[in-house]
Subunit: 232 residues, 2 copies
């Protein structure tokens, strides 16, 4: 009694998360998926696994299952587990950078509006998901002992920090504030990272409340430039 199974029926194989399914759907399902599509699908499955089981318990088997594909698949599309993880982090870093880049574009040329946009976009639906925050945090935990991760985790990198600092400097000049811009920038950036950390830990904190807290900070720091509703 031998059942001949129809293969590659991804819909049947397993319940995939929306993200994985979408990644697989950008082109056709099954064999027709291109190399890049498969890679993306596996990256999404990796984020899922990191979020669900944490870094240390993320296995290639779990990633493959999550993607609805077979065991050997990762070593076919990526060379090793390590390379998959790096590609995943790279993807998130790129997405993050693109997000604040775009936000800055749309903000116009007023410094206050730009700073507001920069803070707000960190709490954007697209970026600030439970699963992505969890994945970020998983990498943070390993970053200190892995130079490669450390470099990529500084997606909040030099460039970002410089822009932030310049904006704080400008607002200080405009408003005649008294603080030290370096310390202020550092404290503000750190605050946003800390809010991410707390969002991930997941008590009762929501995206909205976290954003409100960040805004509260902006208000006391730059009273002449902001209201709770936005830049003046």
């Amino acid at each position: 009694m031998h059942l001949r199974l129809k293969k590659n029926e991804t819909a049947v194989r397993m319940k995939l998360t929306p993200e994985v399914r979408e990644a697989a759907d950008t082109e056709k399902r099954g064999r027709k998926a291109s190399k890049e599509t498969r890679r993306q699908q596996l990256i999404e499955a990796t984020i899922d696994s990191l979020a669900k089981r944490g870094y240390s318990e993320t296995t290639l088997a779990d990633v493959a299952d999550g993607a609805g594909l077979s065991r050997g698949i990762v070593n076919f599309h990526f060379e090793s587990k390590e390379k998959l993880l790096i590609a995943t982090l790279q993807f998130m870093a790129d997405e993050y950078a693109a997000n604040w880049g775009a936000a800055l574009e749309k903000a116009g040329d007023k410094a206050a509006a730009q700073l507001w946009a920069l803070v707000a976009c960190d709490f954007d639906r697209k970026i600030c998901t439970k699963r992505k925050l969890a994945a970020w945090c998983a990498f943070w935990g390993e970053a200190k002992s892995r130079p490669t991760y450390q470099a990529l985790c500084g997606a909040r990198d030099v460039k970002y920090q410089d822009i932030f600092l310049a904006l704080c400097q400008t607002l200080k000049d405009e408003g005649g504030y008294a603080y030290d811009p370096d310390g202020m920038t550092l404290a503000l950036c750190a605050s946003m990272e800390g809010l991410w950390l707390r969002l991930m830990m997941g008590d009762g904190l929501t995206r909205e409340k976290a954003f409100a807290a960040a805004v509260e900070y902006l208000l006391v720091a730059f009273p002449k430039h902001f209201t709770r509703e936005g830049p003046k």
Copy 2:
């Protein structure tokens, strides 16, 4: 040609870190160490390993080597790797709580002085070490998927948060500030956690600079209560 090695010459066995050596020295070295001393010694070695290799690469072999003891030792004093890690986190959480508790005691009864003390003690030499920050971060990375860790990582727990909130509330009333105390407290606590994260990542940031940034925050939030040198 058989060399008969003198055993238990810990000084010879391996270069132990100062922390591990100290833990082993609180009572006599060698076999005479009491159960509690050994446990402490192993916990210190665990912190070392977490800091050096990260959570996912911390092995019992590495911990045992770090403590200058043999392979099976952890399963004798702790029951399992998991229990060792939990004990380690528990130790750090207790130490952290004791630290801010003591700081609060010494601060007198002025709210401003208490808040200053609470912020300052987070950047204390004893707590804010590279190795301990790294260990904290390692646990944070795994916390989301492990309820036990999550509970202990909230060492910055409800009690701490409540005190913090009450102090902010008091200062607001005293100074007639306009902010929302909940948001303010959240942003401030988050900022300190974020600063820890950055200290751990280790760019050029020093304890002093991080503390200065936190102070900068206090200054803009409570201008009537603080100067850069301390509470008024």
